[in-house]
């Protein structure tokens, strides 16, 4: 666990977003937070299981379009 940072170090715009979110109830936060867009390849199979998380990461890199952002940098 790391050190606690000071609020003053948080960019003002983000701080305002965090404070606004803290005033919303959980149900409302959910409504704003979860979206659904079609992700090619990833969404095309109803079930996938990988022996290891490393296998999953490798599969993502080899099979998903790079613009989805699942590749390692």
């Amino acid at each position: 666990m790391g050190e606690t940072g000071a609020k003053s170090e948080i960019p003002q715009e983000w701080l305002e977003e965090f404070e606004a979110a803290s005033k919303r109830d959980l149900r409302t936060r959910f409504r704003y937070a979860f979206i659904h867009t079609y992700k090619p390849v990833l969404d095309d199979e109803p079930f996938r299981a990988f022996d290891t998380t490393a296998d999953y990461r490798r599969w993502c890199e080899e099979n998903l379009p790079s613009w989805l952002g699942y590749g390692r940098v």
């Binding site: 666990m1 790391g2 606690t4 940072g5 000071a6 609020k7 170090e9 948080i10 960019p11 983000w14 701080l15 977003e17 965090f18 606004a20 979110a21 803290s22 959980l26 149900r27 936060r29 959910f30 409504r31 704003y32 937070a33 979860f34 979206i35 659904h36 867009t37 992700k39 990833l42 969404d43 199979e45 109803p46 079930f47 996938r48 299981a49 990988f50 022996d51 290891t52 998380t53 296998d55 999953y56 990461r57 993502c60 989805l68 952002g69 699942y70 590749g71 390692r72 940098v73």
Partner: protein
């Protein structure tokens, strides 16, 4: 497939509780439960790897309406490290061995409860995102770390 809804999170919570599943919300869905204002597409659950928990997960998922063939259920029961489900009423990722978190019991010891939802501590959520090394996680990390500082101050 529509976006994941609060009602569905409640259904997970209630079904997993009925079957005694040991799990934690992880990833951005966990951060959102803690209050992080951002968007995501589906829920990530860190589930304990054990034969009992695997069987409980399968029973709970079937209660929720996931259409699991026997071979698929067997893979969950065996505890494959990463299972991606898109054969139910909503998308769900089951992660038995997330990057950056040593084991379930350690994460459970420092987890947070939000409206009955068991959620990984913000530091574990950040650790797992840092460990993936993915472009999409790298982009969200600075804001998530700023939220951590805000959230910890709120807890004092």
């Amino acid at each position: 497939m529509a976006a994941f809804e609060y009602r569905q999170a409640e259904e997970i919570r209630d079904a997993f509780s009925r079957h005694g599943v040991r799990y934690l919300f992880l990833g951005k869905s966990g951060a959102i439960l803690l209050g992080f204002p951002d968007t995501t597409q589906d829920a990530d659950l860190f589930v304990e790897k054990s034969p009992e928990n695997g069987a409980a997960i399968v029973a709970a998922l079937r209660d929720l309406g996931f259409d699991l063939a026997e071979a698929q259920a067997a893979q969950i029961e065996r505890g494959k490290d990463f299972v991606q489900l898109k054969n139910g009423p909503f998308d769900l990722d089951l992660i038995f061995a997330p990057d950056g978190i040593e084991d379930f019991s350690l994460a459970w010891r420092r987890h947070v409860e939000v409206a009955g939802f068991p959620v990984c501590h913000i530091d574990d959520i950040i650790a797992s995102k840092e460990a993936t090394g993915r472009a999409k996680d790298r982009e969200s990390l600075p804001r998530l770390k700023a939220f951590r500082d805000y959230w910890l101050e709120q807890q004092e």
